[in-house]
Amino acid sequence: MKNYLLTLVVIFGLTAAVSADTIKATVNGMVCGFCATGIEKTFKAQPEVKTVDVDLENKLVTIQTKQGQTLQDSKIKKLLGNAGYSVVAVARQK
């Protein structure tokens, strides 16, 4: 029983470690292609980031991180702030 539980913990831990985040940030102030490109370049320069998608219509920036990596909310807000925009909300899914 003890070994069984230990195995479960290890498997669960490994699964969590290799999973990637899909982060959706709702952003105010994004209105044009220049905005989108600035945001895209900013996030693509981050080592944790695999893909970035900017949706002007829905004011969403969708970031997918690399396996086993994540981006903290504070870093997302800082990066978007440096690009000139305001973060309204951040939602995540594994």
Binding site: G29, C32, F34, G38, T42, G84
Partner: protein, 211 residues
Amino acid sequence: MKTTTFLSLLLTTFSPALISEAKPLSYVGGTMVMQENDETGHTVSLDYTFIPTNAFGFYLKQEENGKEILMVTPEFNTLLKRWNLPDGQGNIFNMTGAGLARYQGNNQPCLWTAFLADYESRRWFFSYEPRFVWDGDIEKSVWQRTRIGIAPYLAKYNDLNTWIMFQVDHHPAKHDHFVATPLIRFFYKTYLFEVGYSSNQHIMINWQIQF
């Protein structure tokens, strides 16, 4: 060939210049090259944004429609205030430069400063810019410019964006006090191009690239 003539040709043909109606800041680490050719002359600027609120660069203008003054200055662009709204963005910028002005072989210190207020949504655009120029003993001038624009369709990020715009310049010291310019703006990702034709019969061609 005179230096000023050569520079005019260079500006008109190849170099980049300040489009005062486009934002004078990029994202941190971004560089902008801009060119403006209109009834006021030919302007070039190259700016690097080093913090979210400031860019530093180089500004060169060959004036026309009056005295043909050449101005060369470093420039410093500052975001004074930004409003990030759900459906738009409003800004107030200051752009300032100090350097040299040349007119008929006479070199003078020069100083210019401008304020740019703009609001842009995916559908509407509005800007207003007063500009103050002091070219030593050569000339002192104040002028202002306003623009309105509408996007005939709402483009996505990867689409070609099109704007129909109308610009009015007010130059109290020049022969044509008021100049109206209808124009079309296109931009695709980080490339912007504008073409228009002014009421005093000058072709406007502006472009901007960010990288």
